[in-house]
Symmetry: D5
Subunit: 128 residues, 10 copies
Amino acid sequence: MTEPTGDILETFENPYPGRDYVIETVCPEFTSMCPKTGQPDFGTLTISYIADATCYELKSLKLYLQQFRNHGAFYEAVTNRILDDLVAATLPRWMAIVGEFTPRGGISTTVTAEYDEPVSAGDPTASE
Amino acid sequence: MTEPTGDILETFENPYPGRDYVIETVCPEFTSMCPKTGQPDFGTLTISYIADATCYELKSLKLYLQQFRNHGAFYEAVTNRILDDLVAATLPRWMAIVGEFTPRGGISTTVTAEYDEPVSAGDPTASE
Amino acid sequence: MTEPTGDILETFENPYPGRDYVIETVCPEFTSMCPKTGQPDFGTLTISYIADATCYELKSLKLYLQQFRNHGAFYEAVTNRILDDLVAATLPRWMAIVGEFTPRGGISTTVTAEYDEPVSAGDPTASE
Amino acid sequence: MTEPTGDILETFENPYPGRDYVIETVCPEFTSMCPKTGQPDFGTLTISYIADATCYELKSLKLYLQQFRNHGAFYEAVTNRILDDLVAATLPRWMAIVGEFTPRGGISTTVTAEYDEPVSAGDPTASE
Amino acid sequence: MTEPTGDILETFENPYPGRDYVIETVCPEFTSMCPKTGQPDFGTLTISYIADATCYELKSLKLYLQQFRNHGAFYEAVTNRILDDLVAATLPRWMAIVGEFTPRGGISTTVTAEYDEPVSAGDPTASE
Amino acid sequence: MTEPTGDILETFENPYPGRDYVIETVCPEFTSMCPKTGQPDFGTLTISYIADATCYELKSLKLYLQQFRNHGAFYEAVTNRILDDLVAATLPRWMAIVGEFTPRGGISTTVTAEYDEPVSAGDPTASE
Amino acid sequence: MTEPTGDILETFENPYPGRDYVIETVCPEFTSMCPKTGQPDFGTLTISYIADATCYELKSLKLYLQQFRNHGAFYEAVTNRILDDLVAATLPRWMAIVGEFTPRGGISTTVTAEYDEPVSAGDPTASE
Amino acid sequence: MTEPTGDILETFENPYPGRDYVIETVCPEFTSMCPKTGQPDFGTLTISYIADATCYELKSLKLYLQQFRNHGAFYEAVTNRILDDLVAATLPRWMAIVGEFTPRGGISTTVTAEYDEPVSAGDPTASE
Amino acid sequence: MTEPTGDILETFENPYPGRDYVIETVCPEFTSMCPKTGQPDFGTLTISYIADATCYELKSLKLYLQQFRNHGAFYEAVTNRILDDLVAATLPRWMAIVGEFTPRGGISTTVTAEYDEPVSAGDPTASE
Amino acid sequence: MTEPTGDILETFENPYPGRDYVIETVCPEFTSMCPKTGQPDFGTLTISYIADATCYELKSLKLYLQQFRNHGAFYEAVTNRILDDLVAATLPRWMAIVGEFTPRGGISTTVTAEYDEPVSAGDPTASE
């Protein structure tokens, strides 16, 4: 099976680039394969971002995430990697991703990663 | 069908303009049409604001929102546009809108936009 | 029917005036009349305060609120007015009131108002 | 606007006609218009049935229900009418529909109607 | 204050008299006065019925129930009395009412009463 | 401390003796003492009954139950005993009591006891 | 991809064949492919059964269900087919399966199928 | 480690043997070892019974269940075995046990077993 | 009845005094008597603290709180007084208590009080 | 029984060391023994951390925690000790642990401890 790629992500022009507003997308049907055991993993991804010039298109996001269906991926790596792919595709002002994975062996894991625009003076999270 | 317009919004005089207090209105019956698929979308709008001189009247808000029933609108654009219309009609000290839309293709979206009075020294959110 | 009055409120001496502690009172059985439609409105009032010298007595609070049962009152006005009456009766260091009203026409409203002691150097919310 | 019609419903062959099994479909995005007030109504329809030779196809069910979007309909009538249309299209062994409508004036309504195959000796509900 | 009366109830023709279907109406904003203490009582009434020739109209039901707002009534009596009034107005095949009242002195009460059409051979509850 | 007694229970005339209707009383503030450990026990009592000629008065029920506050009582015995006392005081057509007690040592207990009128031909539970 | 097969199911000897007891297995991580759209479907399968001589082994059940991960299957067919495979593998006295699938286009579907041992005089559901 | 034994169970005289009443005991802290993997299992046991002459004492029940802490036991066998031990110790008129075990490999299991007094004419479940 | 006293509280040495960590104790079974009505009050106390040299022992805390069972105490006074007693017994770096009392006359009350070590430079709440 | 040891913990290389992201692990199946009563304790541990060079491996974490199964440990000590062991094994930038233990004698306890990298200029919690 081919490696997942962010090239599949499509974007559209942010309709309100003059305002820092938050778009949150909840994807409860994420599934990938554990590289160690070969067993499927399941999780809910919550992606939040403040778009700059472009937003991701939801159908392409769905197809992008479906690439992981038969792809081996550890929780920590896949959450960060999806963040990197989405940042590369949309160049947002800010983005965060929370990956909540279902229990294995009585233990469940959540990975939370965040991206801040490197040199933005108007970073909306700076004043918190 | 005609374009929705904020002209339909009626206001009344803020009964306590001397105090910065918050009015929150929850509208769980918002529906519009997806411009791409022609299918209806459904969502809950939560509008919060600190009125200055005027408050919006609830029945006119309901009629204003019903204009979108057969109107094509993307999530990101319609949430920001309703914020703009309500700000224009009430000139509030502060206003925020959260649009939570129901799942499509296993993915659900929430858009959150906020307006701050441009030059208000007494901005209630500045000290947070 | 006579106009509601805060004169009905009784107070008792704050047993711990040396400490800024919070008393929260939840009143889920508030009801008044809509002045526009003549229909009854229903809501839950949550009153929180830091007493200075006096606390309000709960039974008198109940009787005070029952005065609104057949009294016409808009959401925004009645929430602020009850805050004013309770502040006048107890002269607290800080007080807040949240009025959550049940849906009308598919729309529900919550009004939140707050009072800070005007010149208190020891205002407990100043350092937040 | 044209009258809704069950002709839009498509069916497919029941894959397991030899077994009495139950298919339940929940449609939380039903909306129609109140013929009296001209205001939109909202509700959740739950349709359960035991298919005989045919099952309804889900996409055509969605399009069938969307016909009511701008159609005037009272709760009691529309729930029974949808039951009639679905029975006519699928000729099931048993079917039930529950329509739960959102509150109006502080009152909410649920309508539950049921269809039993007229002369079936093997009616699965007869022995309850 | 005048005594509540069922004369205020309006009915409309049952649109599907040929089918025994259930209409459930939930009224969470019922309030009356305790005849003993003079204090207001609050409760949720849930009315279910199988109409024969007529259904009650919802707005008139609301006005009928509002008559109890300043009327003294014990839980047991008022629940049965409302059942009697609604039966008299609609002559249903079957009707039930559940009155759930809020706690007093740490104790809450629910009263459930049911009416069956006296001589109906087709009584839908007989076969349970 | 004196032994609890059902003599404290007051009754009033059933306002609708011609109908078998159910009165349910939930008492979440029941407390007694464990005879073995001397520690307090806590529970919620739910009493349901179909009155014959008399109903118990709620304030006297509260005072009756408060007699157990400093009284030693095992879960099984106290639940059955309260049922006996209430049956003796009201002579109901049917009565049931559910006592749900809070966890001790990681184990929680619920006791459910029921009383049926001995020779009643019209016993409402007989046809179930 | 190869067709899923029940041959993968392993069984073990029922440790208490002399008693009709129920084993319920909840599998919230079922996923298959929609044959029509090629999109993944997700659901929770709840399997209940009364074993006769053999029980299914849980790890083999998991592997059996994973065969559907990249297999096209309609809701109605796949639920019945899994029932057939599990009945064939374990020859139970009684078995039922509930397949609850996540929403598509705002509509969600649950399929419930049941198997009764054909000629068992001791059928545990016969007396209900 | 020694084999668990029901000999540890202590009983006391049923205080109300003349009435068929139900005692339910919920034990959310049951743990044993999986004989196959050597890993600990966790579950909630809910035991319900109608006592005849004797009831089990709760502290001895807790100690009895703790014997399984380091004991290998499959779900199906251990649930039935505990039922047998409790029946042997208390000789009840009726007893049922529900063992709900936490998920393993994304699958969770519940085992429900029931005991009926063999020749009792007054079996409380016979009339259901 | 004797006056409750903090002398009953036992402490043990903080096992990790080098770290500011929080211990939270939830006591849902607090009960005292209303001095005005003589009726029992019920509440849940949540105590949180950062121990310095000593921690309170849980069994002695339970016995300390049981002293209030038959003791008259107003909500505001008893919550602050328990805070004072626990501070005196453990000399913590920080302590807070939340007393949530059950509804009376449809109104419920929560009292929240906090203690900060007077001259501690390392006060963990100072930097918030 | 041997003393639990952190030596059993295995780690793997942090796949994204350049980003401060949070990994949260929830372990609802923690159990140890009370050193005072010899009775088992049960709790849920929630561990959150920002890894530096290494992450802990989940299966080794499970085995590490299982060492406490038959080990005597007080709530306050065991929570802090596990934090120390995990910090020693992974040398994180930040770590926190919340231990929520089930009720004993009607009282439940939660212990929350946190570790900050001693001299890190880039401490992610410093800017809060």
